[in-house]
Symmetry: D2
Subunit: 366 residues, 4 copies
């Protein structure tokens, strides 16, 4: 693991996700760029001192050389510290599991893409919401034509933790996520918008061809967007809207997806991810549960416990790690795991939003 | 009543709404432009033959002359037959309660506005969703500053009854609502979008200054929009999105409103209109019920039965009629009743959506 | 109408319910036993002075004699003033629409039953919740065997308005409803328990054969039950539980019904009465809406507006009045309208609960 | 671990729960009474062959003697194979984490209680639902008097997996759970009723003093109860109902708890465990989320991720394992971890239900 030392948030999430299915063991890390903190963090996590590094480059080099070297590295640093370690590990022949968004700038994205192309090992981007069983079932349903031709997508990701200027009162997460230098220019669009954008493509199998965006910064003094209104034109003629907000008071982590075709529609929300509604023209709406009655195996294949026993965010994230273990082991399903394409797509999204908004909401095409 | 004869839909709704609070009696009507049908419809409704007219102009003239003439007329014809009767009755000195949208064209709107200005009697537009008690309570809360400065509004009105081309298979409602000549050019934007647009202004007290729209017609052969994606810029700096759809499979009448300020947020949906959630920064979300505990009289003043005893669409509509009776009687609260301003606002909305969409989503300002 | 004068609650509800479908006109009344109040109330409601009576007996006599006499009378007095007027009007040959429960004592119930048997005019008891369209659809579904053989019923009616001793602080409704002399001995079991008990028989078509009850009075100084726990044995082998409470803080009018057979189950709640869930073994649960897609006409036949446009308590009540108009007119469906059998069943329920509870919860059979 | 070999269900759940917080490592096991299967299962799980036992007695003996012996054993066998291994390990000085219910018979319960009393090591019973953060917050709220004096409790646990006689068609879980010899006599009451019973005492801090039960077996040929209706009398005057069912079609794992005092009420359901509603007399109901805004730290202290990021069944279970690690390490909070008292309480519940039901629902006191 690179990043994720004491005081970090997403690193701990990655570690639990990796543990749940007992497919991974954490044996080495460059947990902080501060050596002392790196060592202390490693000690907390039971990493042997000789495999705790103060420097990701050294870690890549030494681990690649060990006969018992790591199978993969997780990159869980802030966005602007993704590109260099990703490239270093890929070059060293070590598979990479990287947090999203891909990186901070288009140039970095291009460099990473080159490295991925050149590498013989997998690159996985943790758009973790794609690991939710019902999201994967939804994807399979759309692919099987159960909704018919997709016409309309409505995606939203609403939070409220940046309603006030908490980045100025000591909230570390808020600090780097609202600092353009570290986040990469996007605020809500990068931090959460990319998840919603990725998810709608993941489920529908459709890429966005163009978007028009109106970005706002409501938090006093805020330097990045904290609310974004976006219209979408998808390949195949579908149209969509995407709303990302970190100032929508009363929303904790409201990622919601609604998809409508000429034969049916489905609706899902992340906060109660074990339930989805499915409508077909002329029929009563159905409540589809994770692994529940009817509708085939569906979501059940990516779940650990019976329907009615709720799984959550960590289990969805764990599916990414379990599948990554398969993939790196040589027998996984690439189609279900977000990789470089998803990463580049997300970077296009961030950039296009910023350009469109600056151009007063003009459509920006690929 | 003008319109609302046999086979019509909204006329019957107006009649029930007028009856509920026992403030109105239906005594005269030009229920159809077909005289035979007009007479038969009048007979069904217990209207005396001598007050059943085949012609609204005659009705206006004769009723105005009677000492026991009508106090008000309800105009419930298709959109393109609003302007002429509205103007005729206003000129005859008879108050008008008119279904929305105001009319079919901007020119008609201008004429109606003139007539309203010149008239000494009230003009009421039945944006009936403003009659829901919790919507009025929400308006009062926003006005009292409970949400702080409004930042973001999300309005949507999703239906699915036009998913297929039912206008071609004998659905009368679908026929005129998808015929540009009768609907006035707008499809979903006029039929339902205007309701959502009106509602967000009603609750926030803010007018839209500009909009950018992307309209689509998904139904095969359809001549008007059946799905609309709209971005909004409101006075005071708030921004919004509005989605109107008649092809969102699984949605019956999904009018929903979400409003966020710098102090709080509220969310309401028409399909279960007796409940609203209210969030304040740093506090748990509250479930506000129609006339329920806490939060003052609020919605309770526009309701007939105790909380927990659901009221619905008809009772909300009835509030418009009860208030109109007060207003016409000389002692009502004009502020709560949509009138010509709301009508003109809706006509601007329809026109601006069409112009923006034709201009590839360019912002259209007032 | 007998009862329902100024300050009363349920009388006004009956009047709106009667008006909604324009099948009834209120033309006479003995609105209060206090003559002055009766006259004032009649005047408020537009009843002609000569048809406003201070005495129900006189009203029965005179109205029966008039050529334009009333078609039916609504009895909306407190429970202990049901029997006498019901019998008087039936004897006078005037149809009766009576609020529930039937009356205050078993002796009165026997007398009413005799009068109903002897009468040539209909007797209707306003167990209004049977008028909800989805409740009627549920009944039809059970009758059609869609749930298979019924095994388990769970009924509950939870309110909280008597959490505190409001009967001692001027709440008129609470005063008579907690006074054994006026309520008839039962508290929650009579006021709301009878509704739940009636509803489960209405939907399942099964009578209770025995019950075991544990009644409590939590309100300080309260003389009747305000919380009741009841176990049920139904004919055909089904078993049930029924909970009625007026001290369940946070519940406004929580009447809920859940029914399970060997093939399926359904769940419905009064506070959002336009939605029901239906489960069949091995299939995903369905969301059935009032008049919505699939599942045949069902609830749609007792509704006025399209699905998604919510109807509420008053429209359900209005269905009772519309059906009563049909029945009294000679062509209604007796099976859907609660009458004397439902009334006697409810009186058995109240009495059996009290006897069982006094006998420490021993089963009391018919 | 004792039990939990190939094909078992709950053993795998325990293993994930133990892994999530990285406080436990699985190093030894007697995973099956069939030696070959035990060895194969151990191999699957990475347990060294020399610490895979075919016999729990041997395992207790050898592990107790090793300097690197296990810190605790998890007993995850069917109910009738709890007592012997629990006692063996306790006698060997090894802490025990045992699945619920405690055991199969009252005699076994007495023996276990003796062993626990004599032991110097902790005994933990995995009533895992007590590990849900909001359940612990609810317990703290009740203890702090936020609901006032508790009056009414409504607990239910509804499933549908035994609607049909699946025990006769090869469902292994159904086989032993419906076999009185292995389950201990109780069906639904033992398998799920004990959870609901435990939970209501855990949250309210009140013990049941007496119960009256009506048990049924609806599944054809079924030898244990699959539906149970129970009335409760709690210490301090509160009364309750408890419904446990495995034939309630449409319910997957519907454990729900509703508690009402003279000051407030709260409601929680397991299938969406991250949300609870809290009502106070005269105030609007609040939606309390796991670790969400307002109401103090509360649930947040037993959670790993921010509010809005759902945790589920496994995380609740993991809290039991994490707390057990603390307790066994000498610094845990005994009050939050179910132990022998909860186990004996559950055994009383099962026995009292059976006795009451045989006595036609007579009250059975402690």
């Amino acid at each position: 693991m690179v990043g994720g030392g004491q005081g970090a948030f997403i690193g701990a999430v990655h570690r639990i996700a990796a543990r749940i299915d007992d497919r991974w063991e954490l044996v080495a890390g460059a947990l902080s760029s501060d050596l002392e903190r790196a060592m202390a963090s490693a000690s907390d996590l039971g990493i042997a001192p000789d495999r705790s590094y103060g420097d990701y480059a050294k870690m890549a080099e030494i681990e690649a050389a060990r006969s018992d070297g790591i199978d993969a590295v997780a990159i869980v640093t802030p966005n602007h510290v993704h590109a260099a370690p990703v490239i270093a590990f890929l070059k060293a022949g070590i598979a990479v599991i990287c947090d999203k968004p891909l990186c901070a700038t288009q140039d970095e994205a291009t460099e990473i893409a080159k490295a991925v192309k050149a590498a013989k090992v997998p690159f996985v981007l943790t758009h973790n919401y794609t690991g939710y069983p019902l999201i994967r079932q939804a994807r399979a349903m759309v692919a099987a034509g159960e909704l018919g031709t997709i016409r309309v997508v409505q995606a939203e990701y609403a939070q409220d933790w940046l309603t006030e200027a908490v980045e100025e009162t000591g909230n570390k997460q808020a600090e780097w996520r609202t600092d353009p230098a570290r986040s990469g220019g996007g605020g809500a669009i990068g931090d959460i918008g990319t998840h919603a954008f990725n998810l709608l493509s993941f489920v529908t199998g459709l890429r966005a061809e163009a978007l028009a965006a109106d970005l706002q910064s409501f938090g006093p003094g805020r330097r990045v967007d904290d609310n974004a209104h976006i219209m979408l034109r998808m390949e195949g003629g579908a149209r969509g809207m995407l709303w990302a907000s970190q100032v929508a008071v009363g929303n904790e982590n409201g990622l919601r997806l609604r998809i409508y075709g000429d034969k049916g529609g489905l609706e899902w929300g992340q906060e109660n991810p074990n339930v989805m509604t499915l409508a077909r023209v002329g029929e009563p709406k159905k409540i589809v549960t994770r692994g529940g009655a009817g509708l085939g195996g569906g979501a059940g294949q990516w779940t650990r416990i019976p329907p009615g026993h709720p799984e959550g965010y960590l289990e969805g994230f764990a599916n990414i790690y379990a599948d990554a273990a398969d993939l790196i082991g040589g027998h996984g399903d690439r189609a279900l795991l977000p990789g470089i394409e998803a990463g580049l797509d997300g970077m296009w999204f961030i950039d296009a939003c910023i350009r469109s908004s600056k151009a007063d909401g003009a459509w920006v095409a690929r």
